[in-house]
């Protein structure tokens, strides 16, 4: 079986306040849409906001090794679709 796509929603304080609070719905949407092909979880701070004080690009989501900046539900689903192509 193919390797699963991994989706990590950063729930560090910066990402949470800048919008990942609203990405928590991915944790329900993704399994419903992709079944067990994708593994999604909320994770502690990924450390991406502190690089060069890039808090304004938060919230961050990691889809495998790719970083989605200013993530929205739509952007993350698109990134997952790319991976599954």
């Amino acid at each position: 079986m193919d390797k699963k796509v991994s989706v990590k929603v950063c729930l560090g304080t910066t990402c949470f306040v800048m919008g990942s609070a609203n990405l928590q719905e991915l944790i329900e949407i993704v399994p419903a849409k992709y079944g067990d092909k994708v593994e999604v979880s909320g994770v502690p701070c990924l450390g991406l906001c502190s690089i060069d004080w890039e808090f304004s690009k938060a919230p961050y989501v990691k889809v495998d090794e790719d970083v989605v900046k200013e993530a929205t539900v739509e952007k993350v689903l698109k990134a997952i679709d790319e991976k599954l192509k």
Binding site: T13, V17, M18, Q24, C45, F55
Partner: protein, 491 residues
Amino acid sequence: MAMNTNAPKQTSHLKREILVRLIRAYLSDNFEENTRLIPFDMRPKGSEVPYRCCIYKEREILRDRTVAGLGCSIEETDDSTLLSELAHKSLEREVPEENPLTVLTTACKGCVPARIYVTDLCQGCVARPCVNTCKFGAISVQNGKSVIDPEKCKNCGMCVQVCPYQAITKIIVPCESACPVGAINKGEDGHAKIDFDKCISCGKCVSACPFGAVHEKSQIIDVLKTIKSGKKVIAMLAPAIMGQLPCTPTQLREAIMKLGFADVYEVAQGADVTTRNEAKEFVERMENGAEFMTTSCCAGYNELIAKHLPEIKPFVSETKTPLYYTAEIVKKDYPDAVTVFFSPCVAKRREALQNPNVDYVLNYEEVGAWFIALNIQVDSCGESSFKTEASAEGRNYAQTGGVAKAVQSMLPEEIPAHPVIIDGLNKQSIRDLKKYAKNGICDIGNLIEVMACQGGCLGGNATVNSYKAASKQLGAYVSQSKSIKETEDEN
């Protein structure tokens, strides 16, 4: 259950980014100059123009948003005033401004006035139900399409309902349609304007505007300044905050201490006083033959009573709000302290202005921005417990139905309450309240809990977490807390 009606996401992002930059500017060695530079730092030369026509307009709008972040009125500030001058002015301010909301006129132009509009889908049919239904003779068919005469149209919407092609639509202005009391309207110049004689500060326009044009005037600089001056500053946390950030309540307490607060209280502690007093009052009123009583803890509702619904006053509980009792306790413990209420909504800013024991109000967006500015990771903070443990019922005040449930838990069996929950003020629920007041009776119950926001305080305009997640997180905290009767036995 209530839907999450939090502010459109992108506008919240902008507002929060500005707050973070403002706090950083304040903490830097040149507050005034670094404040002036905020729009340029956010849109440097050659950067993308995500929302507006050009980079100059982007910067101008960011400048206006920064004006609100400094606690000033956008409407009353001259365009030529530099942000650095306003930053300086914000440091000299002794008390916050009276009206807590301000509208960004430059961002507001996008909306067309509310009206009924015939789209291209109109087939110019033979039946012409729109023409026949219109009581005002406002519709005629010209060149095979229905045309509405704006002079005659009363916006009743009948034609919208009868068109078999769904070709007629009602164009709404989101802020106008969200406002339950008709306090915000587009003026002749096309800009929204708030009539503060009518405004109840419920914050619905803040959440509704897709341009994020309505802003709260922030008091963040006032609070930063007070802490820097070395005064003892005490935080009072409204119950809703316990569902707002990704950490435990005891970690949150520690994180707030790191911001420079001398002590942190849960307003749920004051809610316990409200519950006891309100239950007593309910019993007295019922024994004296009253038909119903409404709660009195929601600041938006209290503004509604004062400005639009005086006839319900005799039925409103005279018990004070949880914030009132908490502030009283804090001022007894620390007579010289400055108090800051951590609020989910804008309405509490009005309540604070009327209460000498509450000095400032910060909302959850501002608190969150402050954590970002200081790089505080809330879930890595240590744990420290509150000196007084509030009850499960008090902590549950933030949820719709929580207040009525708390009061109910303290009632004797022979005087039962039949709660009626007003889950959000809107035109319909205000009509209902008017009816109860006029008839002196509420036909569906005797204890009316009124929450201005759908979902209770967790649906407040300045919340950070989504409603569902916040409700779950707060619920977990409530379920591990002692009941009010247990805490009573201990005290």
